[in-house]
């Protein structure tokens, strides 16, 4: 086995230096010092939000950091396709109740990731899901109270570096298993409480469809779960609309207040109009 090593540092020829100088001069003259970085900063993310919020919420006032809603996400996305995000709601700070939470990712091609409606007596105080994050961006949770007040908290997420793209990892598997669901029920940590935690998982490629085909420049068609409702015996717990930036195999973990022994029912509809339904008996029935 032979190793061949060569370093071009040895090529520090005077002639090359002259060319370097000439080319640098040409570059400067043409102003071709590289196009400005397109990477988002907190300021540029804020600019997107400034332009966007009127479209989503009109000219309504948005109260910030009131404690009604909190959002947590990793400071740096590890896998751009699967960024965990936690939203916490504090009913004590919104006595009239919270009716919905909207999740916004400023720098994504379609910033409104999803809107979640909360069942009236469902008692949801914590919702975690996973989203795709395309670029450095604020993630914002905006809660709307029953009386129509808006409360927001934001957290900045640095996009993942390298080859981790916000795309489906195993497309064949995603297509083959689409519509399968799994429900995990986490029993209450204390007995005698009527709050339990659920985790709903749905198999779906959930393609955001906003990537361009590099050859044809056409957009790849979007295909994602755009409507989801979770209820207990017909009583709404949580529903979702939108969903474009939710990760493949949409995954929602949340707490809720159990009402009686009725089963948990789920209905999901995707952008192709396919509907997936499932139900599970309540494991803690009879508490």
């Amino acid at each position: 086995m032979q190793n061949h090593v060569y370093s071009s540092r040895q090529l520090a020829l005077p002639l090359a230096s002259v060319f370097v100088a000439i080319i640098l001069a040409i570059g400067t003259l043409l102003g071709s010092s590289g196009t400005a970085s397109a990477q988002q900063t907190t300021a540029s993310s804020d600019r997107i939000w400034h332009d966007l919020k009127g479209d989503v919420f009109g000219d309504r006032a948005i109260l910030v950091d009131t404690g009604v809603v909190r959002i947590e996400a990793p400071k740096r996305a590890q896998d751009a396709a699967i960024v965990p995000v936690d939203i916490y709601l504090d009913p004590a700070k919104a006595p009239d109740g919270i009716k919905s939470v909207t999740l916004i990712i400023d720098a994504n091609p379609a910033p409104v990731a999803a809107t979640f409606q909360l069942g009236k007596d469902a008692g949801v105080t914590h919702l975690s899901t996973r989203v795709r994050v395309n670029d450095y961006s604020y993630l914002r949770a905006i809660a709307e109270t029953q009386s129509g007040q808006l409360h927001m908290m934001q957290t900045f997420v640095k996009a993942s570096g390298g080859c981790s793209a916000p795309a489906v990892k195993n497309q064949d598997e995603a297509n083959a298993t689409m519509g399968q669901m799994k429900l995990r029920q986490f029993p209450p940590k204390e007995t005698m409480t009527k709050t339990e935690e659920l985790q709903l998982m749905i198999r779906h490629p959930n393609n955001s469809g906003l990537q361009r085909d590099p050859l044809t420049q056409y957009f790849i068609p979007a295909h994602f779960v755009q409507k989801l409702s979770i209820s207990q015996a017909g009583r709404p717990i949580l529903s979702m609309e939108g969903g474009i930036s939710i990760s493949e195999d949409p995954n929602f973990r949340f707490d809720f207040t159990v009402h009686g022994n009725g089963e948990i029912q789920v209905e999901a509809t995707d952008t192709d109009g396919k509907t997936f339904r499932n139900q599970w008996p309540l494991e803690t029935a009879g508490l």
Partner: protein
């Protein structure tokens, strides 16, 4: 052609490339001046007519020209097949120039082992010389979904200069399962795998010397990255190690290694990662907490552990939750 003569020609190939890179602004512009100033190549003949280029054990940067993965060339009596095009046009052009000094035979095939930028960003250089670009049947689809993101993301990471001329070029010859390419006097066997490192992994086996180009199905030294299926990777480990190879060129790590021992470290890491994640799932630990500690006992065994372990754990968690 004697090995000694090959070696001399190889060395002069890189000299020539670096010089032309510095002196041909009309073709390459400042990209080369910025990046090429520290261009450094190390190439090895690993078997008769089989050459490999060793990438740096680093993340892709402007300083390393994106040259972080191992590349290969197999020379037949009629033609040359190149395995992976590298992480920039500059790297691809340097490699082509080096091959040109080894042999007058045309580079007829470029085989892409999978979709990642460090393996495909040099593709345009091969299209330009008329080589047929060969890939897994899933590769075009994967590039469609990621191409724009890769170009944008790496423009940030590598800088405008090194990204100049980089295009996403899809393969035109696709491998469904197995495919043989005749280079004249020697055949190389291409094999498409089920989802593992990615959902478009392809290996190349040179039958004459029993050399396996494993692409990123085999990582050594640098932590493997998971962008396909952990279960698929583990499930196919036995089929991979059953390949009757005398040596392997891993996608990352030493330019050549003994087979199948080369895969032991990677297998151990994935088994530990899977074990830790399965326990977290069983315990009801949420993803965000679980990924902070999973695989941690492997930290000292790998380069780039902090860059990739949490990402691997995240992908593994999302996959293993469905078991």
């Amino acid at each position: 052609m004697s090995v000694d003569r090959l070696r001399r020609r190889l060395v002069s190939g890189f000299t020539c490339t670096a010089a032309s890179a510095a002196l041909l602004p009309c073709c390459l512009g400042r990209a080369v001046l910025a990046a090429g100033a520290s261009l450094r190549f190390s190439t090895t003949q690993i078997a008769d007519g089989v050459f490999a280029f060793q990438g740096a054990d680093e993340l892709m940067t402007a300083a390393n020209n994106g040259a972080i993965c191992n590349l290969g060339a197999v020379i037949g009596t009629d033609a040359v097949a190149v395995i992976d095009s590298g992480g920039s046009l500059i790297e691809a052009q340097a490699f082509l120039a080096a091959i040109g000094k080894l042999t007058a035979k045309p580079v007829r095939f470029l085989v892409n082992t999978h979709m990642h930028p460090d393996h495909i960003f040099g593709n345009a250089a091969f299209r330009k010389i008329g080589a047929t670009i060969v890939g897994h049947r899933n590769l075009p689809r994967a590039l469609e979904a990621r191409g724009a993101f890769y170009l944008h993301n790496y423009r940030e990471q590598l800088g405008e200069a090194l990204m100049q001329g980089v295009e996403i070029v899809s393969p035109t010859m696709l491998v469904d399962d197995h495919l043989q390419l005749d280079l004249g006097g020697r055949m190389i066997e291409l094999r498409a795998w089920k989802a593992a490192h990615t959902d478009n992994d392809l290996t190349v086996f040179d039958t004459a010397t029993r050399t396996l180009f494993a692409g990123d199905l085999v990582f050594m030294g640098s932590l493997p990255t998971l962008d396909g299926s952990l279960l698929g990777w583990l499930r196919q480990m036995d089929a991979l190690t059953a390949i009757d190879a005398a040596r392997v060129v891993p996608g990352h790590g030493p330019v050549t290694a003994d087979w199948p021992q080369a895969v032991a470290g990677e297998r151990r890491y994935f088994e530990i990662l899977a074990r830790d994640i399965r326990k977290a799932i069983a315990d009801g630990t949420p993803l965000r907490e679980a990924v902070k500690t999973a695989g941690e006992s492997e930290r000292d065994n790998w380069h780039l552990f902090d860059d990739y372990n949490e990402r691997n754990a995240t992908a593994a968690f999302a996959e293993l939750e469905w078991e």
